[in-house]
Subunit: 345 residues, 2 copies
């Protein structure tokens, strides 16, 4: 018998991120290119941008509906018909759902095309575009199909966020607050500002520069998300991701306290801040549906859902490098009782 | 404006390859596992193997039909239903088509599951399972959707090849001969033997250890494949990959000579050896269909198909690190005239 261990060589990946007002004017990629935009942005930005940079314009449905197998397949068929080849650049313009879907298509079309992402929401800027997670949803749950695929460049143009509705600002703030809870207390409970946004982006970059593959530290970014994803699934993706994350972060902070890791003081502070969000449970919520939805959580392993937990504001618990621990239904139930008591329909 | 360049950290990938008679008896993965097998192998190997290692058994259609979007989606739905999570191992058993499809599913299911591949054909062993290329086909062409995703382990058990039909042996030999033409003359025109198979595997490993991402040297593995993939597309995937590669290698050797790179002597030697294959054009072949099919070749760029070319037996031309060059229709036509003259229907 021969045993050979080999190491396929791939050059290190790097991403250039441009941040500021008007940075989009510097976007000018070479070669054949396709601008893929949320259809709601066609009139506002996409038509003009495509014209300026000489790109073919393709559109996808707005919001979470973009992240379907059907949209992915339809988009790839259009790219084949238009002759997109391995050197064509895909440029994704939209919120987190759009960039998740466009990143997924870029990663599997001819085994990977050059990709540039332009987030148009605060949530997309501080979370979805950084770190290479791409995804589509399935009837079994959110983000269950996807890849890790890093864009060549990211353009975060603050001018695009000026017209965002208040609700979108809250969606982004929910992720920034989550970063404040798990990693950097200086991101906790501050007013939104360009400096805060940039700091949140740098925090996420710092995490994925240590663990892009989601085998250890990166898992802390999932704080609040075990509950949030399950709530979104139960709602049929009608619930905003930011609202789900705010509620999920609060419930998982409650769980951190119940399990004896987090002080009452810190929990009360977290409750005070996150309660300012317009929190509510999905109309068709039931606990059995929530447990059913958690069955497909990607952090599962060995049968029980696993949760990221915090022991103070600004610090997730390492658990010997796993950065999450299994939580049994009976351990979780007090926090669900509390959640249902606070936000019953 | 802030410009940040960052480098997402991912640990280097490694693959363990076991080669020899009976090596499959050492396969014994931990945890939850799913054996996904070509349905034609269910009775022969798969049922027993699944039982021995305690895996759930799932089957996929035999041959190139496995590589469809429908098969990929159906397989993932079964995995969701059976509760496969991110720590579940997928074990793929079958020929190159099966392992391409199973690798693709493993790479996109929850952003990637541990993967073990067991090739059951010589072609799969020397080519498909090494180097992480996964793929499915589309109506626009072969392998147009896929990822680069490396298995944790590969088991090449020579006992599985003993019952292969002669046709399958020829399919594998076509790829070994191609390796002889582009990289290592000692693989050219030798009798099949375990030592030759292992040498071909080591040659492919050596190439992907230099360039797994297919940006330079790895492209030489596509010698013969620009024509081969187009012929397979024209045939509706009815043509065997090995036969297509033998014919494609011969035509692209002819092209290498016509363009002034390859000597008459070497071409005559190549013709003598490859003519022993049962070469024929697809029933519905036409030159316009061939050009249409080449439009979607992944090596395209800047409008013209690009070909890997050789300047002697055992050596592909570097072309300044591109390892391929654009070939215009008028440059290609003499070789197509010759092909059609030799193997008209």
């Amino acid at each position: 018998m021969e045993k050979i261990i080999f190491h396929p060589f791939a050059p290190p990946v790097s991403t250039e991120l441009y941040f500021g007002e008007g940075v989009l004017s510097a976007l000018n990629p070479d070669g054949k290119k396709f601008l893929i935009a949320d259809q709601g942005l066609k009139e506002l930005y996409a038509t003009d941008l495509a014209k300026r940079i000489g790109a073919e314009l393709l559109t996808i449905p707005s919001g979470e509906r973009a992240k379907s197998q059907e949209t992915a397949i339809h988009l790839m068929e259009q790219l084949f018909q238009l002759g997109a080849d391995r050197e064509s650049t895909l440029i994704g313009l939209g919120g987190g759902a759009a960039t998740d879907l466009i990143g997924f298509v870029a990663s599997i079309y001819m085994r990977g095309l050059p990709l540039i992402l332009i987030p148009t929401t605060l949530l997309g800027a501080v979370d979805a575009v950084i770190g290479g997670k791409t995804a589509i949803d399935t009837s079994f749950g959110k983000n269950l199909i996807g890849t890790l695929y890093h864009p060549q460049a990211i353009f975060i143009d603050l001018n695009l966020f000026q017209t965002l509705p208040e609700k979108e600002r809250l969606n982004g703030m929910a992720e920034i607050l989550k970063m404040g809870l798990i990693y950097d207390r200086s991101l906790w409970a501050k007013e939104s500002s360009p400096a805060l946004i940039l700091k949140a982006i740098r925090a996420k970059i710092s995490i994925i520069e240590q663990d892009a593959k989601d085998h250890s530290l990166r898992r802390i970014l999932n704080f609040g998300h075990t509950i949030a994803h399950a709530l979104e699934t139960v709602s049929g993706y009608a619930m905003d991701h930011g609202e789900a994350v705010a509620l999920g972060s609060l419930v998982e902070s409650h769980l951190s306290r119940t399990l004896g890791y987090l002080s009452d003081n810190d929990f009360n502070e977290i409750e005070r801040v996150l309660s300012c969000f317009p929190l509510k449970l999905p109309k068709n919520y039931s606990r059995s549906k929530l447990f059913e939805a958690m069955k497909h959580d990607k952090k599962r392993g060995g049968g029980a859902p696993r949760f990221v937990l915090i022991d103070r504001i600004g610090h997730a618990i390492a658990f010997d490098g796993a950065y999450c621990r299994p939580v049994s239904p009976s351990e979780l139930e007090p926090s669900l009782d509390w959640m249902e008591g606070q936000w019953s329909k």
